[in-house]
Structures are given as structure tokens and as C-alpha cells.
């Protein structure tokens, strides 16, 4: 079963991911790729509380995620690979083949401009998304399964 979603979402584990995408896709695991979380047992425990018992939650830094990506792709259960920021997903995409990336939530912060209700980007982040797209990755924004898909060119 292929990974059903490679998602950038700064809230990481939350309702839209676990319920919104997880339920209709029958997701059996989420791989949370984040260098900081992977190094913190406390952070991991925090996010474990956010997933139902039938869903497995893996933690990995980018290097470990690259090593385990093929295993996740061959898992019989549908899965989601989740990163909190563009840079993390871009670093992962440099190490493994990722066909599509979903921008699911990058929220307001100083220096960012609103692009969608749930997407705010700085100029550096825009350049980073374009650079990722230039490597052949299809990038679109969509917060929930029933929401409108906004392709990168429309997003920027």
C-alpha cells in the first residue's frame, strides 16, 4: 500500500490529520518526521496521546525517515508521512522519491504572507516550495479531503 499522503502541517498530529484524512483513508500509521521530536521522549509522548490505539505512530529524524521510507511504502496499511515545515519535507525529498506533497497547514508567523486561510508563507518558503517542485514533486495545498485542491502555481 503506497503512502497516501506526504503532508506539511505545522500542527503535526491533530484532528484534520488523524480524523479528517485518517478515517476516510483507513490510515494505519503516521510517520512523524521531525528532528526535534525524534530527539525528545516528552514530545513523542505528547503526540502519542493524539492518535487512537489502532493507529501506529512512528518518529524519525530526516535521516532515519529516509532509511525507513521504503519500509513504510511496503506496509500493507495506508500511511501518512508528516512534517511540520517545508525544509524538513524538502530534505526528505532529496533522499527518497516523493511524487506529491500536500501543504496542509502553515500558519501565521512574522514575515509570512497569507496565501490561503491555512497557508502563510515567507519569501524563503515560497522559494523553497518552488525548488522542491523543480525536482519533479507535485505540490498542492488542501487542508481536508473534501477541501479544494490548490496547485502550487495558484498558491503562489
Amino acid at each position: 500500500m503506497p503512502i497516501v499522503l506526504h503532508r506539511i502541517d505545522d500542527r503535526l498530529i491533530h484532528g484534520q490529520v488523524v480524523v479528517g484524512w485518517g478515517r476516510p483513508s483507513g490510515v494505519g500509521f503516521i510517520a512523524l518526521v521531525d528532528d526535534t521530536v525524534a530527539a525528545s521522549e516528552w514530545e513523542q509522548e505528547l503526540y502519542r496521546m493524539g492518535v487512537p490505539p489502532e493507529m501506529t505512530l512512528y518518529f524519525a529524524d530526516v535521516e532515519a525517515a529516509a532509511r525507513q521510507h521504503a519500509l513504510w511504502e511496503s506496509d500493507p496499511r495506508p500511511g501518512i508521512v508528516l512534517a511540520a515545515d517545508i525544509d524538513t519535507m524538502r530534505r526528505l525529498a532529496a533522499l527518497v522519491a516523493i511524487a506529491e506533497v500536500n501543504v496542509g497547514g502553515i500558519h501565521h508567523a512574522p514575515g509570512r504572507t497569507q496565501r490561503l486561510r491555512y497557508v502563510f508563507l515567507s519569501q524563503d518558503e515560497e522559494r523553497s516550495l518552488r525548488a522542491l517542485a523543480d525536482t519533479g514533486v507535485r505540490i498542492s495545498a488542501q487542508d481536508v479531503p473534501g477541501g479544494k485542491t490548490v496547485e502550487l502555481e495558484e498558491l503562489l
Binding site: 505545522d10 500542527r11 498530529i13 491533530h14 484532528g15 488523524v18 480524523v19 516528552w42 505528547l46 503526540y47 496521546m49 493524539g50 492518535v51 487512537p52 500558519h107 501565521h108 508567523a109
Partner: protein
């Protein structure tokens, strides 16, 4: 009752919190026991900051809709350095009414009683 008297913060998706506060007000007129926060309005770190502000003003319990949503995650971060703070997930109107109207006691006992009320209020019937 002034804003300083807020005892609980309700946090959830969409208009969940505002809707529950409105319902509490309609039933017993005690809406000002609660602050209502929508996670739609805040990034994760901002949500945590808003919760900290309410806790600093005296809120003892955070009520959230889902156990694993961003609201509950933010509350757990606040609890890390506010060990007296109590989190109730899966909150419903019955639980909130019990908290607003029930005998004043410590937050842990108040939360336990509210959870019992809320749990007992959920039922199903019919269908045959």
C-alpha cells in the same frame, strides 16, 4: 461576574467552544464561567500562548473537543509547567453545566464530577 472569575477554558475546532458557551448561557446564565477559544484562529504556538494567558487569569481546567486535537496538545504543553491545571477531553454540554453549577471544589474533583456527568449524558435509543 468579571473576566477574572473565568474558571474554565473551552477550546475546540470551528465554533465548538462558542456554541457550548452559548448553550451554557441559555440554560443557566453562567457563560462567564468559561472562556471560548477556537483553534481555527491560532497557530499551535499562539494557541498555547492564549491558554497560558487564561491560566494566568485563574482558569483551572481546559475543556477540549477531541482527545488528540491541537487544542489538547497545546493544553498538555501548558500543563507541563502548570501541574495544577486539569485537562478534560471530549467535553460536552452536560459536563460543562456540571462544572458551572456544581459544588465548588478543587479542579481535579470538579473535573472528575464533570466527566462523570458528561459521560452519563451520552446514550442512544431507538433504531428498531
Amino acid at each position: 461576574m468579571s473576566e477574572k472569575a473565568i474558571r474554565g477554558v473551552i477550546v475546540g475546532h470551528g465554533d465548538f467552544a462558542a456554541g457550548l458557551v452559548s448553550a451554557v448561557q441559555q440554560i443557566c446564565g453562567l457563560a462567564d464561567v468559561f472562556a471560548a477559544v477556537s483553534n481555527r484562529e491560532y497557530p499551535a504556538q499562539e494557541l498555547e500562548r492564549v491558554l497560558r494567558e487564561h491560566v494566568a487569569r485563574g482558569a483551572e481546567i481546559v475543556f477540549t473537543d477531541l482527545p488528540g486535537g491541537s487544542a489538547a496538545t497545546a493544553a498538555r504543553r501548558v500543563m507541563r509547567d502548570n501541574p495544577g491545571l486539569v485537562l478534560v477531553t471530549g467535553a460536552n454540554l452536560a459536563a460543562l453545566l456540571e462544572f458551572a453549577l456544581g459544588e465548588r471544589c478543587g479542579p481535579a474533583d470538579a473535573a472528575r464530577t464533570a466527566v462523570e456527568k458528561g459521560r452519563s449524558a451520552i446514550s442512544s435509543s431507538g433504531g428498531e
